[in-house]
Symmetry: D2
Subunit: 347 residues, 4 copies
């Protein structure tokens, strides 16, 4: 399954085309809409005031409620646009945002309104595509769960059993320890009150992938395949599998996962490897953590450069912005993981 995500924050519509979808899959639109709703803005004090209903229309690839196997296209209209908020962005790039890089990349032709194609809004079609992928995976016994593992230095409880993550899907703020969750929310509100933003991390598990998928080489390597999809989620700046960055202060005797037999199957007693050895799944859950940078759009004044005359100047971002994107990114990370898992399965 390959996907092309299209659209701009303030264009007529956003959407996605999905190719290689297995034929005959019942497209559970309720499930898909629930995933979309988890991501949609305007639901509480933590997110942008922009309201979008985010109801996708399927244009192709579905017949009598089932996938046809030919390309599936879905479109989500853009409704609540305040384009006038963005007039300055044509020449005043926001620090930390893609404005300047995109200006150079596209020779100034990019749609800068609301970040255009770089907007977090583009995670809506990603979540759609990922929901389709999760339906495909469900048929094969593969499930995906995630939690907010950290926000602005506040860590959630350590996840000892990835299966726990599957139950968090209906939580508006998916953490294992709600007290930690409350502290995270407070950190977000504090930042918001000061016109600032915060970063964080999401831990995600893909449960049920059989052992023996992938290859060591570039392009077929399971960790590389996941990263390919994950780094395309806006704000993701780091990806680690299993113990991740903690490997740098571990010894082999501690890091190695002892093999054992359980119900006639080979398992590992620990899962520091995050389910992948040598680029190949080992049958344990594929577990990874992604780090998301703080929202670059903040109300505080920042140093920038006027691209019209290359003068240095100050700029305070106007418009509606999330003080933290981590909680809304959870379904997007699950979506990217689902699309990666399909690729790992050769779908």
């Amino acid at each position: 399954m390959e996907y092309v995500i299209f659209g701009e924050s303030h264009g007529p519509a956003i959407g996605v085309t999905l190719t290689g979808v297995p034929a005959g899959l019942e497209l559970d639109m309720d499930f898909i809409q629930r995933q979309m709703d988890r991501r949609a803005p305007g639901r509480d004090a933590l997110s942008t005031a922009r309201r979008e209903t985010d109801v996708p229309t399927v244009l192709s690839g579905v017949f009598h409620g089932r996938t046809t196997g030919t390309p599936l296209a879905a479109v989500i209209p853009n409704a609540d646009q305040h384009s006038q908020d963005y007039r300055d962005l044509a020449h005043l790039p926001r620090p930390g945002h893609s404005d300047y890089a995109a200006f150079v990349r596209y020779g100034g032709a990019n749609d800068y309104r609301g970040g255009g194609h770089f907007s977090g809004r583009l995670t809506a079609p990603l979540v759609f595509a990922g929901a389709v992928a999760q339906l495909v995976l469900a048929q094969r016994g593969v499930k995906i769960g995630a939690h907010i593992s950290e926000i602005y230095g506040v860590s959630d409880a350590v996840c000892h059993d990835p299966a726990q993550l599957l139950d968090l899907r209906d939580k508006p703020f998916p953490v294992l320890d709600d007290e930690k969750g409350e502290a995270m929310r407070q950190a977000i509100l504090d930042a918001k009150a000061e016109g600032d933003s915060v970063g964080g991390a999401i831990e995600c598990a893909v449960i049920g992938l059989p052992a023996g998928l992938g290859d060591p080489d570039a392009g077929r390597n399971v960790e590389g395949i996941f990263s390919h999809h994950l780094f395309a989620v806006p704000a993701v700046k780091a990806v680690g599998f299993g113990a991740g960055v903690a490997f740098s202060y571990m010894r082999g005797s501690e890091a190695n996962d002892p093999f054992a037999v359980e119900d006639g199957a080979v398992v590992t007693r620990t899962n520091h490897a995050g389910g992948v050895n040598g680029g190949i799944t080992n049958g344990m859950p594929v577990v990874f953590e992604v780090t998301l940078r703080p929202t670059p759009s903040i109300a505080l004044p920042q140093q920038t450069v006027d691209l019209d005359d290359l003068s240095e100047t100050e700029y305070a971002v106007k418009g509606r912005h999330d003080p933290c994107v981590v909680q809304r990114a959870v379904p997007a990370i699950e979506a990217a993981a689902a699309l990666a898992a399909c690729q790992v399965l050769g779908l």
Copy 2:
């Protein structure tokens, strides 16, 4: 430039084919050999006792000392093989290693001797390919440097100027602060003495890539492209760009890199973004850190499973192994970065 790395640790030869090499490049074999030598084993007390001269033979793609533009193949013979050390691996997978995953993946047909195609020895052709890529990049003013940023919890000095990293190439143990380097070496020797191993991290910078390369979408995203190449280096388990995992405890006002003008060009005052915004280069050095797991092969006894009868048993790895692969992985990470940078440049 695409590459196929082939070979097994104890087969007749290892090597690489490189396609899409720009034509007419003088193939500086001295430079290439120096890179190969940095990686070669048997140079000091820190590495495996296996000795390989690692002199590549170019079979195609070079004429009169210059690249022809058609596929370049290079072969490195395997010399010092102790295959008998590995007889047990056919049925006793080493914890933390790819043995079990590969056994399932290839139905037991994989060459298990010395890890076969999963051996760290396969970084030799990677370093060859990366050295070719660095020659290509040098013509375009792009340079690459790296240092060992951490080993078993001992951190090198913070790198404030990526240009410093370019000078470390000739150091056998490339760190900015040699006292820290000495502490790292001691940590490795301590682990070795105890039959154990340690993990670590490498920070790498690609200097000179112009702004405006890449795209936000999966497959064209600069961070995704680098990860694609980096996760194929054995032992790499995490990749972070710029501030990386530290973004999770930062605020936007701190994380955002203020724009400024220097010599008529737009720059950023800090480089927390690691040279990439929205998947596109911004003209600052592309800086990233990779975490490498401790060598899984350790002399200490470990729990494993006999694949012949699925009985649980204990196993102590025999043979020659590096107590730490980080120092020898530095040129491999530079190589992967060089190949990634060529892809980002559209080469």
Copy 3:
């Protein structure tokens, strides 16, 4: 530039996503619409009675009338649908059509109405994409023209100068020799009168590609790249470059194109090679001919198999069908050629 064409003949809409479009291109919608109109049905006695206005709506990738460089999506609504004509197709595959192959491929989940995703109607988004590609090419001095070279054994005049083909664009029935064209039309009308259909061929030239593009190897070979796009046009069954199948009765002394110098540039006196030697452009026009099979949907009764009970039966296709698709396929072949030429140029 990569494209995903989506939609089914009787679904809500058809369309295309285009990625990698160069930024800053003025999207001349008049030109695009003219190309779409050349393909649209219902214009004369030769084509199906189905009427579609085929006006595309651009959903993304265009801002202030210029391409942004991020994915461009266009949608064409389906209007004049007569789905009831197709009820039998669920179990009675039409000989020569994709019905049976698709039934097996998609396990019966494909949208069979009007051929679904296999309908000639899907050339509408292809022509859209190709028109965008032609605008990209025009900026680089590359032009494309084509003529109907044969219908049911009636051949057009031999094209001695590919530049002639550029002038045929506005002809409803693009041939060099209108008398031959009249004979072709008569052959089509004769077949129609008998409830039958006819096949034919289209010769196409891409003028202005510089020498030195492509590579001999699979995947980069110019002829392979063109074929990749051309065989995806419905009904195309053969592709030949330059002298094409005539090479099988030629001698080398006749087939070889003598080199000469014209205006300081190397040219060939003849162009039997069709502008490609060894998979690489030689600077002469890239000329090729595609053969299109007769429309499989005919009114005459044919032998088929009822897939419900595997009984042999007879079937006469109902509904509206073109007795010949060649004349309407001309802009589709030009579109595929334009998309191929962009790929050859590395766009």
Copy 4:
């Protein structure tokens, strides 16, 4: 299975890397060598006097005689080189050959000796790769056969049953009708006597591919996949499936293949479609014909241009050349078909 063919006619060696080979396949080196021998030069009066034994050495990807599933590399040394024959080619491009296109493509850095990477000699590693692919296919019940269907206007008997082609493998001159074969050989010898060369065609069948493989869209289309591999075989200039170019003078009632039931399976009574409808296999043999241009290297004097000073001049090719490559190309076409069939099968 993907392959990279490397090497130059007069370099140290030629070879191939194959990735994605299924693990555990017994590598029948006798079969492989027989295929290589069918292609090898110097066997009779029809081919070049160059003698090469063409014995491949496998460097990786095989362990205990079976494929490991990791990249397989094979090398064939170049032995009988007469490089001095080619000194002129650096500046005097041979008409009909790739010399000029390659000169521009690679800026003069290409190895021009004997055509370098463009030499017909590069079909040796292709035949190796194809032989591996045929072993993979044999496990899945898929077989490939081919015959010379035409040389310089002399046609072989029409092949009414593709299974006949499987028996031709051991014939040095694989035709159905040996009298026609004798006439073809005479046409070749006549051309040789006059310092000239001739072109021809090969018809090939892939038998045993199940229905339901492929997709209509570019990149997944069965005809497109085959063409991708076939046009990379030197001298191939046209590819047609089933009735191929004959479709242009057929009616639908004649071209359509009637469905029938045989042994409980859906079949077609004729196979004008060449086993493919709408880009998808229909279960009948995939049959195609390729046209090969006459060998461009001929002894007769030809017009060319001296690239040193752009003066027009005459040139007669020296060295050893085949007056016809068709008979030696048969195993190369089978090899390309085998690699294509593996891709179609998702291998």
